[in-house]
Amino acid sequence: MDKPFAVTLDVGSSLANKTGSWRVERPVYVDLLSPCNNACPAGENVQAWLYAAEDGSYEQAWRTLMEDNPFPAVMGRVCYRPCETACNRGQLDEAVGINSVERFLGDHAIEHGWTVPVSAEPTGRHVLVVGAGPSGLSAAYHLRRLGHEVTVRDAGAAAGGMMRYGIPKYRLPREVLDAEISRITAMGVRIELAQEVTEVLTLLDRGEFDAVFLAVGAHVGKRAYIPAGEAARILDAVGVLHDVEDGQPPLLGRRVAVYGGGNTAIDVARTAKRLGAEEAVIVYRRTRERMPAHDSEVREALEEGVLMRWLATVKHADVGRLLVERMELDETGFPQPTGEVDELEADALVLALGQEADLSLLDGVVDVAMCDGAVQVDGTFMTGHAGLFAGGDMVPAERTVTVAIGHGKQAARNIDAWLRGATYVPSMKQPVVDKTQLNTWYYADAPHAVRPRLEAARRTTTFDEVVEGLDEDTALYEARRCMSCGNCFECDNCFGVCPDNAVIKLGQGLRYEIDYDFCKGCGICVQECPSGSIVMVPEPTERFTDLDLLKTVPTHRRPPIGDMADHSPNRDVRP
């Protein structure tokens, strides 16, 4: 005992005092579902590839994207961006330009000649895909990656389906489409063109193929009876777009009327303008708000000088003129005729009233159910006939390229499972993160100097590819605007804000760990986590120990600063 005067105990560290015993709730790291991922019809892990792109790891970002979608450069041009509509940043300032970054990655990959290796063991199974459109090619790509032999047959002269014959060049340059398709054939997918498939069941029964995926699309324009003079020129929108693609544009004349309100109507009207028509008028029986065409397309068409005749139906078509009846919406929003008839000068009338699938290849197949011109499939995309799957525009769903690509992926996974005698079980969906679960205080405001440039680049007018995609700087900038909703992006906030040093930083890429020996359960890390990646759960007890179950308990979080008020610092806050 050689201690100084009045000292009886050795100096100890407070580390002996395990304050974790104070806790009644504990913080837990989670990975939740970001709204963009949730909204993507192709099932892309948007948050993950943006995360990779944020530090310039473009190849990794592209490969993550390619896990789900083999057409990033196409998507980056023609997708209707449900991800951006869902983006939480849209409620803060402006949605992240996800689509522009996707296009940048897709173009970057083409430029650098990146390819996708097939690493799976060959399964010895052979799948026939009927239709080389987005859905068929997506299925072929995914099946090939899973080790199956894949043959794609298409009646057309070139692969791409509606991506080639439905979407005009000014929205999707053919070099881009060709590059992404040839990447799929380079993986060993065989595409046989000008091969109409008729006897589907024979192919299956003869054992030539172990499974068949039908994705013939919807290429037949719907007709409507329109009283017309003998010499009136009436064409069908799908046919017009197809002929333009084949290099044989039809003669439309000086003034063209397009009948319909969908995206195809807009495409035809814009194409007509490009073919030299002085005037392109869209005749639609309802109002702009009720038009099925996407807003951005309507806006672009109007910018290009396409005229719109809302609330109108075509009564009679004649040489050089149409009779158009004015409509009125009734209280249920349905258009009713008024009896007032106008004349509209038009050298040609193009009908864009929707498309149907040509299902003649299923003639005589009794166990495949059909309804309203669409093939009925179960949750695994299998028709009533074992081994016969279908997806894309020919099954009931929203008809967009992205949805079709998503169908292809899901069908491929189910076909793969079926071929192995198993059932495909999709991974459980985590809860979707909404803005109230974020602490948006921490996200940097977009510097003004960069914004104008970005806004120009973000503009949707990819007309003649006039507006360039993002360059590397702006793509990086845009990717970094991602708030990483529900997924840790290693900002060190939890590590920094803990008053008890109870968060352990594991190093780059490894995230963090809570030191439950010392964590008192104050919850500051949860409150100050920008991305909502930590939740507070009740402390497990002897009776209840299942942490995973506890994580599903909804946790309350206060809104970030200033959300109750205007963000402008100069706003007078007093009543």
């Binding site: 105990l9 050795d10 100096v11 100890g12 560290s13 407070s14 580390l15 002996a16 395990k18 304050t19 104070w22 944020e54 530090d55 921490y442 996200y443 940097a444 510097p447 960069v450 360059d471 590397e472 700087d473 970094r480 605007r481 708030m483 990483s484 992006f489 290693e490 900002c491 060190d492 906030n493 590590f495 920094g496 804000v497 008053p499 008890d500 040093n501 109870a502 190093g507 030191d515 020996d517 010392f518 008192k520 359960g521 104050c522 919850g523 500051i524 409150q527 100050e528 920008p530 507070m536 206060r558 600063i561 200033g562 109750m564 008020a565 610092p569 100069n570 706003r571 806050v573 007093r574």
Partner: protein, 333 residues
């Protein structure tokens, strides 16, 4: 990579503690796994203690700035009590405690002793709560300022005597309920027109450096400590550290409340040199004081059972005066 016009934009800029995209040398001290952890785990501060957080922030930054050549002198108060129950200590820096009221004087003495030994590379930080600084140690502090002793004195201001059970101090804001300013009578809580604004009093001494900061803005706090350690002479840093217990707030809201104090204008964040304000931190998202008050039990009587708009307006007027005085709503300082 194309570096012709690099876009300097990061997801969280410098608002978060760290950022995987930023060069480690540009990151905060707190984001460094090698940080000193001057106040380590196992201390007995309440859940969500702002003072424990503020002390670690400040001393870790001071340790880095001085290359670990630092002595800390502590006044009596929560910070001393919860960190050193005999025989344990949470301090990983040389640390000294004497009395409640003499920390600035002891710090002066340590500084003088080091100078006498020729060890001027060893720097001294004095620290205490608002009680030990604003009231009890005030004479010693003023003397330290007047003599321009080579000490950085840091006040962790939680606006009352929390250690002894939440009694009013000279830093308690008007209308706040404490054990000695109960929420009763026509003018409930602490009286208006009393108390001391010590940063301004420090400025009146025309010492080399005076600054305010909060636990809500780590980068700002670290920059101020680093700047202070670059200077010699008497320096004063006043850090707002919310107290969940004394303020009647949720433990998870400590940083949020500090942020609201700055964004409402009630706590101006600025720097002054030789008596003149040289920089202020502008408000980023202005909020009415009500947003700040409503989260705290010590102001609950302003909302229940009857709403006291008259009192809230007087507090708003204080915030507005700060905003005007320190130009908190102007783009750049």
């Amino acid at each position: 990579m194309n570096r012709t016009s690099p876009v300097k934009f990061y997801q969280v800029g410098s608002l978060a503690v760290g950022n995987r995209l930023v060069d480690p040398v540009e990151c905060s001290v707190q984001s460094d796994v090698e940080r000193t952890n001057s106040l380590t785990s196992g201390h007995r501060a309440c859940q969500g203690c702002g003072e424990a957080l503020g002390a670690r922030y400040a001393l870790d930054a001071a340790m880095r700035a001085t290359k670990n050549q630092l002595v800390a002198v502590n006044a009596t108060g929560c910070l001393e009590v919860f960190s050193t129950p005999y025989p344990e200590t949470s301090w990983r820096v040389p640390w000294l405690h004497s009395l409640f009221g003499n920390a600035p004087a002891v710090a002066t003495g340590v500084s003088a002793a080091l100078r006498a030994q020729g060890r001027t590379e060893v720097r001294v930080v004095g620290q205490g709560g608002d009680g030990g600084t604003v009231d009890i140690g005030f004479a010693c502090l003023s003397g330290m300022f007047e003599r321009n002793d080579d000490v950085l004195y840091i006040c962790y201001d939680n606006e009352a005597y929390m250690n002894t059970g939440v009694q009013r101090s000279g830093a308690t804001p008007p209308a706040a309920r404490t054990m000695t300013t109960q929420a009763v009578g026509p003018e409930p809580g602490n009286a208006f027109g009393q108390g001391k604004d010590v940063p301004r009093i420090a400025m009146a001494h025309e010492i080399p450096y005076v600054a305010t900061a909060t636990v809500a803005d780590l980068r700002d706090l670290e920059a101020k400590v680093t700047r202070a350690m670059d200077m010699r002479g008497a320096r004063y840093l006043h850090v707002l550290v919310p107290c969940p217990l004394g303020w009647g707030a949720a433990s998870c809201d400590t940083i949020r409340i500090a942020r609201l104090a700055t964004q409402s204008g009630l706590f101006p964040v600025f720097e002054a040199e030789h008596g003149e304000v040289v920089a202020t931190t502008p408000i980023r998202r202005r909020v009415p004081v009500e947003e700040y008050l409503a989260l705290q039990g010590r102001f609950a009587h302003l909302f229940r059972p009857t709403r006291r708009d008259d009192v809230i307006e007087r507090l708003q007027a204080m915030a507005d005066r700060n905003i005007e005085r320190y130009r908190l709503c102007e783009e750049a300082s």
